[in-house]
Amino acid sequence: MFRHILGHLTEGPVTEPAPEPGIDALAELGLRVRAAAQARLGRSLSIREVDAGSCNGCELEIHALNNPIYDLDRFGLRFVASPRHADVLLVTGPVTRNMEEALRRTWDATPEPKWVIAAGACAIDGGIFAGSYAVTGGVDAVIPVDLRIPGCPPRPVELLEGLLALLEVSGG
């Protein structure tokens, strides 16, 4: 183990350079977030992930953001355990009827100012599950959405682009 660590010290980090912020995501976010965020937040954003009915594919890729290759922490973005500590709710899944109230309560528990990201095709409009008796049909059917990151699931780089876009605008 210590040989491992020594190796990492001499070889340099495995972390890859950050991607350029997504142009589309930036445009979608707009001025609304900037005005609210500039004064109140530094660069550091805390994210609470909420699975509202995903197949778990999105979670796998969100997990990957924490591996040393993507290393989300270096951007001042980190995942927190409670919505009370969060600035951003990163929501996946088509929002099942059985998760509707839990999602709403999580949003209520998140202090202002707060932003909501709908990550993945299902979170945007219900995706392949739209029309089911058990599904509301997307995050914005339950809570307001500020940013949408498409993909099934979005690749870690795409998630990072979306998050960076949010950060650059909200950080000023």
Binding site: M1, H4, I5, V14, E49, V50, D51, A52, G53, S54, C55, N56, G57, C58, E59, L60, E61, I62, H63, A64, N66, N67, P68, I69, F79, A81, S82, P83, G93, P94, T96, R97, N98, M99, E100, E101, A102, T106, I128, F129, G131, S132, Y133, A134, V135, T136, C152, P153, R155
Partner: protein, 526 residues
């Protein structure tokens, strides 16, 4: 050597004696039973050690899939619920309890004598009762959950800890109700169904290709395995043979999926014991697997790559080279990390003897995958009933009997090694790319019969995902649509054992136990 097992009777013969065989159900026989015969079957279940493989409903019919583990015989028994119900299996097979609760919720078929009749998937939020039954009825207000009676607990000094559905980590939602005496858990009660999306309802009436996309999204970490189970069930129903190269490419993807998930799991288990080093290292290896999958198949999780009839993509020119390089790299980088896991007393202190599952319990619930194999149950669908190309490949199925978190880690370690060998064998021995006369290379994909050519049929498949055995049953209607599909994730028979595993452990060891099981919420809730 001839081994004689006393006790169990031949499954097919018993069912054939009880009911009549249904034509067009492949490859395993299906028998239609009358009510009295179904009761006799329940009696036979108490006398024989047949494993319950699945239990699912249709608007008027209930089906059960059984296996005689000793002989490998698999069969389906069905009963038309003319009176709206069927005699419950729960008294002789506790693994049937949650499946029967789900059948009640979705189809309104009453499991008579069910030992736990509370709703399971239905939280009262759908705005409709029995949504897939013959007569769905409006009920409650959509989105407003009804109160759920958790099991009563009485005793001195007990307190309850409710957790979820929104958990602290980046994981799926579910509710855990712990009853603890001091730090020790005396009971865990799970409540699931939060991610029920109505997949079975969405599949009904859809063309096969659309239903396949739903199957790929039953559980994202097992997208290859669920797609394969669906594809094999459809192909069985149609009597369709996928091209040989497709069969090998599917196994290649399935083994890559197994390696990626096991690497992630081993790291995450160590991380839940506050040993972040292994997560940091193993998540890099996992990323290498996903990137290789992306380069070879155009998707990191290989979603929608296995389709009924064959595969949707073939390897690129440099695919074989990339895959062999991946095998080499993992064989170089993985063993030192295994030695780190094995050599850290502080880590072993957390994993050894934690969250034990007894072999008898694993057998009783028919638990597969690393949960079963860590508790002495060596069932693996790649071996029995087996399916190509595994009958042509060399591999071992690791089994151990300790049944603790450590054992479930070691099963994963050994399976990574086996799967690396399988990937290497597949890449080296796979049938070549077929070339047509004009020099083009068509995809290894047999076309599905379309329109009026598409006959009806019923098919069932058993496929080994990284978690264990997936059962998928499908009925195709004339014209090539799905009449009914039931995918049964291995988690159905593992979740109940987690309740047993945590008993007597401290609350702080729950994340460790839970991660060592890594049951699917989405695959279970559907």
């Amino acid at each position: 050597m001839v081994m004689v097992f006393s006790g169990d009777q031949p499954l097919h013969r018993v069912l054939a004696g009880l009911g009549e065989r249904v034509e067009g159900h492949r490859p395993f026989p299906r028998f239609r039973l009358h009510r009295a015969d179904w009761r006799s079957m329940v009696d036979e279940l108490s006398a024989n050690r047949w494993t319950l493989l699945g239990l699912w409903g249709e608007p008027r019919t209930v089906h059960v899939a059984l296996r005689a583990d000793m002989t490998g015989e698999v069969a389906v028994a069905s009963m038309d619920c003319t009176t709206g119900g069927f005699p419950s299996l729960s008294t002789v097979r506790p693994s049937a309890i949650r499946l029967e609760r789900a059948v009640q919720d979705l189809y309104g078929l009453v499991a008579e004598g069910l030992t736990d009749p509370r709703p399971w998937l239905d939280h009262g939020t759908w705005g409709t009762a029995r949504p897939l039954g013959t007569a769905p009825e409006p009920r409650g207000t959509a989105g407003q959950p009804e109160p759920y009676p958790v099991l009563p607990v009485e005793g001195h000094g007990l307190h309850q800890i409710p957790v979820g559905p929104v958990h602290a980590g980046i994981i799926e939602p579910g509710h855990f109700r712990f009853t603890a005496n001091g730090e020790t858990v005396v009971r865990l009660e799970e409540r699931l169904g939060y991610v029920h999306k109505g997949i079975e309802g969405l599949m009904a009436g859809r063309p096969v290709a659309e239903a396949a996309r739903l199957a790929a999204r039953i559980s994202g970490d097992s997208t290859v395995a669920h797609s394969l189970a669906f594809a094999r069930a459809v192909e069985a129903a149609l009597g369709l043979e996928p091209p040989p190269r497709a069969v090998w490419l599917r196994a290649l993807m399935a083994e890559l999926e197994r390696i990626a998930n096991h690497l992630g799991d081993i790291g995450a288990i160590a991380n839940d014991a506050a040993f972040a080093f292994l997560l940091a290292e193993l998540s890099q290896l996992r990323e290498r697997v996903l990137r290789t999958a992306d380069a070879c198949f155009g998707h990191r999780l290989m979603m929608d790559r296995v389709v009924p009839g064959g595969v949707a993509v073939d390897l690129p020119e440099d695919g074989a080279r990339r895959l062999l390089a991946l095998v080499d790299e993992l064989r170089r980088r993985f063993p030192p990390l295994v030695r780190v896991y094995d050599g850290k007393a502080s880590l072993q202190d957390r994993t050894v003897s934690t969250g034990q599952v007894a072999m008898g319990l694993a057998n009783r619930f028919g638990a597969g995958g690393f949960v079963g194999r860590a508790s002495g149950r060596g069932q693996d669908a790649r071996r029995s009933p087996s399916y190509p190309p595994y009958d042509d490949l060399e591999f071992e199925i690791p089994v151990t009997t300790e049944g603790d978190v450590n054992a479930r880690v070691w099963i994963r370690i050994r399976e990574v090694e086996q799967s690396l060998s399988l990937v290497e064998q597949i890449v080296k021995r796979m049938p070549g790319v077929p070339r047509s006369q004009d020099g083009s290379t068509p995809l290894p994909l047999a076309p599905l019969p379309q329109g009026s050519d598409a006959g009806a049929g019923e098919g069932m498949a058993l496929v080994e995902g990284f978690r264990g055995e997936i059962l998928t049953w499908v009925r195709l209607e004339p014209g090539g649509t799905v009449g009914r599909c039931h995918p049964r994730d291995p988690s159905w028979f593992q979740w109940p054992l987690l309740e047993a595993a945590i008993e007597g452990n401290i609350v702080a060891d729950f994340p460790l136990c839970n991660k060592s099981f890594n049951c699917s919420y989405s695959g279970h809730d559907l």
